[in-house]
């Protein structure tokens, strides 16, 4: 009986250790999903990760699939983020300037209060579509590391240009911003 109890204890202990080891291996081997931003930085061809989220500018939801065929400037922001305030007028001007050519500026409000975001939109006169991602479900897929971040998507749904981390159209990234728009519109290749 004693031997059996001891063996059972050993089996349980070994099974516990094996389970923990298995979980560790699985975590290391499979749980290392790279965001689109990382792939883009490595020069890989990346499709814009899909999402479908509630709109803040009006009722209903908006999915990325619904914007297929349109060049996009996708901007991740939050009302509590300082640089987001700096870039808001630039994004609105960009939307107004390129709207006739089909360009859509799409705001994704992340980890924010809905009402704060709506107040922000009113304050900065934002009229382009904005969706709400309070839970931050897009962060991992897109590889967002801070706020704001901006991506460019061409008419085929591929990410083009480079990700802009920080407010757009300041001295250090003006060129990248304009190039991203040109690539999304198909003016450059």
């Amino acid at each position: 009986m004693t031997g059996k109890v001891q063996r059972a204890g050993q089996v349980i202990a070994i099974a516990g250790v094996a389970t923990l080891l298995g979980l560790l291996i699985w975590k290391v081997a499979f749980d290392n999903e790279q965001g689109a931003a990382d792939k883009l930085a490595k020069g890989e061809l990346v499709h814009a990760p899909a999402f479908s989220l509630d709109r803040l500018d009006r009722e209903g939801t908006l999915s990325l699939a619904a914007l297929k065929g349109k060049p996009l400037v996708v901007n991740f922001w939050a009302s509590w983020c300082g640089p987001c305030k700096d870039e808001a007028p630039v994004l609105q001007q960009t939307y107004e300037r390129y709207r006739d050519r089909g360009l859509v500026v799409l705001g994704v409000d992340v980890k924010d209060f809905r009402e704060d975001a709506r107040r922000f939109m009113r304050r900065y006169g934002i009229t382009y579509p904005v969706v709400y991602d309070g839970k931050g479900s897009t962060i991992g897929h897109w590889g967002i590391q801070g706020y704001p971040e901006t991506f460019f998507v061409d008419r085929t749904g591929k990410l083009v240009g480079e990700r802009i981390a920080g407010a757009v159209d300041i001295e250090r990234n003006r060129e990248a911003f304009e190039r991203g728009i040109a690539l999304a519109l198909g003016d450059q290749s």
Partner: protein
């Protein structure tokens, strides 16, 4: 007897009062997580954490209950905003699994200890005095006598 009953009633009333007392902002800040930095609100000075603290104070001042405030924040930021997982649905596993492991561990340790104690008892029984060879016994007695004299 009457005094004892009165004392029990008083203690029960105090306990019930404590259970229904309005939560303080500090209580809630320790039970909610900043969605950007991942620490509890009382440990964070991130802009969104500061905003959430203001929200909690405003809602408490408006008479909202702890449950209501948590539900509203979960609606905005998802269940990840709760420092402790809810005690319902799939999240209940987060409470039951550690408890189950603790009970299984205690049972396992108990069984092993029981097994050891039984084996030790058996070893002691096995260690009963063994009769010496007559010649050897005679020599041991002689040595002991010599030692004592």
């Amino acid at each position: 007897m009457t005094r004892l009953l009165a004392l029990c009633a008083l203690v029960a009333a105090l306990l019930a009062g404590a259970a229904t007392a309005a939560p303080s902002p500090a209580d809630l800040e320790a039970e909610l997580v900043c969605p950007v930095c991942g620490t509890t609100l009382d440990q964070s000075d991130a802009p969104i954490a500061q905003r959430m603290k203001r929200y909690i104070r405003q809602r408490l001042a408006a008479g909202a209950s702890e449950k209501q405030i948590k539900a509203e924040l979960v609606d905005q930021f998802g269940p990840g905003v709760l420092a402790e997982p809810p005690k319902s649905g799939f999240d209940l596993l987060a409470w039951l699994v550690p408890l189950g492991l603790l009970v299984a561990g205690a049972v396992g340790v108990g069984l092993i200890a029981w097994g050891w104690s039984r084996r030790r008892g058996g070893d002691e029984a096995d260690a009963a005095p063994v009769a010496l060879e007559p010649e050897l016994e005679r020599r041991v007695d002689a040595e002991l006598r010599r030692f004592e004299s």
